[in-house]
Structures are given as C-alpha cells and as structure tokens.
Symmetry: C2
Subunit: 213 residues, 2 copies
DNA sequence: TAGATTGTTAATCGATTAACAATC
DNA sequence: TAGATTGTTAATCGATTAACAATC
C-alpha cells in the first residue's frame, strides 16, 4: 500500500516521517558517490541507527528492497521524494531580510530539495527594493496578502526578531499559510491546522552543555 | 537529589534533557513579561505539551515548585541554567565565514544564553583577516590547534559546505573538540565521545510537506 | 479552611529491537 | 545452491499520561 492515510488506517507516526528526509539526504549523498545499491545495515551505520528501524520505517509505505541485495538507491530516492511530496517544487516565502534572512536567501540546497524561495519580505522601508538572494528584491511585508493570492504559497520561513515573531506568524496564518519554519527563539501560538517547526541553535547548544563539565 | 549522574543512578533520558532548553527559553520570556510565578499547566499550554510531562521532567532533578502556587520563574530559570551547565559562559568557535557563518557570528542571543563565539575561522585566504561579528576577525583554520590550546574551547559550530564538512569535523575532533553543531546537510561520522547536533532547514521543510497536498 | 497545584505512582501508550521465514 | 538481506512479527523497552495524596 502506498499511503495509509487514504485508506482509513492508522496514521504513520510523525517520528517516522521526521526520519525520512534524513534517509533521503543520505541516499542522495551515496548516489552522488556513484553508488547504486545499499542496505538497511549500511544506511544504519551511516546514520547511527539500527537497520531494523530503517526497514520498519520504510515498511509503512511499501516494499522498496530486494532480499539478498538491498535497495536500489535511485529508486528509493524517488519513492521517498514521492512520499514526502517533494517530487515537485514548493514555493516558499522568507520573512525577514536581516543577516540570517540573507543567508537563507543565498542558501543553495533548497532548489534541489523541492523548495524555491519565491519572495523575501521585510517591514523595514530601507530594505524594501534591495536585491537579495538569486535575482530577488525585498518586498514589503504589507503586500503579503496579494503575494499569497498570486503564488498560492503555503510555506513560510521566519527569520525575524523574537519580539516580532508572534505578530508576523499571525499575519502569515491570516493570509492563508499553513506551514512555518521559525528561526526566532520563541514558541508560537498557532491554530491546529498550522504546522510550525523550529530552528534554535541555543537549544542545541544548551542540550550539548548538559553533558559537558 | 540534584544530579543523578553523580550517584550511579539511571541516567536521565536524553529526550528530557532536550526539552529543558525550551522550558528555559519560555520561562525567560515570561520573566521578561514581568511575570513572577507560573504553573506546569500554564507552561504546558504555552508549549503545547501536557502539564504532567513538565512536572515529570523537572522531577528528575529535584523539587522546584510549591503545591498550590506553582513555580517561581526566576528560581526555576536559575535551576535549569545550573542543570544545563549554562550558568557560565562557554566559548564556541565558528568554522565557516560565508553567508551563514556571518549570520551566526552576528546573532545576538548567544551571549545571554551561555555562549560566546570566541573565534571565526575559514580556509579561504581572501577572507582571513576580514572583520566579522562583534569585534572579531576571521582566522586561518590552519591555526585551529593553537586556538584550541589557548581557549580550551570544546564546542564548534560548522557552517561549511557539505563537501568539506566531514574533513572539517575530523580536524575539529583531532584538535580536541567534543561538541559540534553542524549546519551542513550531512550526517558526520564521529567517535563515540563526540556529540553532534544538526540543523538542516530542508529536513524540516520535507517533514512539513508530507502533510501538504 | 477551601482551592490550587505539586511530585509521584501506576497504567497506558507507543517506539525500538531481535529474530526469522521468505526469497532474491 | 549458499549467502545475504528484506519485510514482518512479537517481545522488549521506554516515554507519556492519568490520577491522586500531599501540602502550600
């Protein structure tokens, strides 16, 4: 079965979904190396997890391997891309054109991974109109609604200061977005239909220092 | 008991440790709002998790609340800072002075959270000597060993291209570092005594698109 | 005191792993 | 065929939650 959601079955655990992008990333590196097949054992060693977990995770979605030989890397990549819905390019808007926003706008990996930053927005009138990223110009965040209507974008990245983040998120959601990647160090209050993921380097640092002396 | 590790008890689950920085971040926002006490219920609502989980997590480390009233915010912040070892400032070195490295060097939140970027290093001779961040100049990554000896730094942030990441990590570990925050989209192979955390926006995006149509 | 909330226990729930028949 | 590796089952392991006595 390809997708249990369509059959009234138990949903696939979110923790499993969260590992698939890492599998995909690893498989693409192997493919870049010229490799054609791999095994759950090899993948597990690369990633520091058990081969059983990889096989179990994949088994939620179908049968992608061959007993005795393993997985065809190109094939499994394509399957994972389909499962994750990254076999098309998703438009993304970036809010915040400071130092971090500029770095995100310049980041090369999005396009090959299923994402394209179609607009960078900011509230600072000094910044509006300035070039940023690959052939973009910073737009006025006040024009958000129009942009969402034109591009049908569902995903935003927020690279704004913590004090502005909740307000910006509310405006994004009001405009119709449902997926937010938030770099501001704050937990956003959002309605249930909106998914937020967070990136906060301090959280990672503080996690690491627990184990340091 | 303050720290079960010192008593031969079962170690505290890593997943619990991972939540503490988020609790701390939230408490500090409440403190900034002028709030003096909070409850596990209020915290849980802020974070979208159960109050029972918060109480259970904290109970691994001691008793920090008062029945009937809840938690003194300032007190709990200080306790969490002690538990996470961020009641002092940790030196951090940043490797990679590209667009992302520059954004990280400029980031304001580190200092107030227990971290100070003491050096930014790169291999690009064009960049070495250029100013970056708050009063720093880009140093030659070839001088890594000397820098580690001088600063006794244990933590590095890697903002280097994926193709350089494994080699850079190996050099950092060889120089004596044991904690790495890796922004490159690759899983690093490291010895068991080294802890690596990863930040990859693509992984978050692809996780979100699974739920989109 | 009455109301609120903690810290903790035990039950529930869910995720990981070990093992192995199937089969390439 | 013999060796390797899958997909799956059942057991184990661990995390979360509900409930409540303790007590502020």
């Amino acid at each position: 079965m390809k997708d249990e959601r369509e059959q009234g079955k138990a949903p696939i655990p979110d923790i499993v979904i969260g590992r698939l992008p890492v599998y995909l990333r690893t498989l693409r590196l192997l493919a870049d190396d010229g490799r054609e097949v791999t095994s759950s054992q090899e993948l597990g060693e690369h990633l520091g997890i058990s081969s059983a977990q990889i096989r179990k995770d994949l088994s939620h979605f179908g049968e992608f391997g061959k007993q005795g030989t393993g997985y065809n890397i190109e094939f499994l990549c394509r399957q994972l891309q389909k499962i994750l819905n990254v076999d098309t390019i998703w438009p993304v808007i970036l809010v915040g054109a400071g130092s971090l926003g500029t770095a995100i706008a310049n980041y090369q990996e999005f396009e090959s991974s299923g994402f394209r930053i179609v607009a960078v927005m900011d509230e600072d009138l000094q910044k509006i109109g300035q070039p940023i990223g690959h052939g973009l110009r910073i737009k006025d965040f006040a024009d958000l609604n129009q942009l969402v209507r034109e591009t049908r974008v569902q995903i935003a990245v927020m690279a704004v200061p913590a004090h502005a983040a909740q307000r910006v998120a509310a405006q994004l959601i009001e405009a119709g977005l449902n997926s937010i990647l938030c770099y501001a160090p704050i937990t956003l209050a959002v309605p249930p239909h909106v998914r937020v993921e967070y990136i906060d380097p301090v959280v990672h640092f503080q996690h690491m220092t627990y184990y340091l002396r």
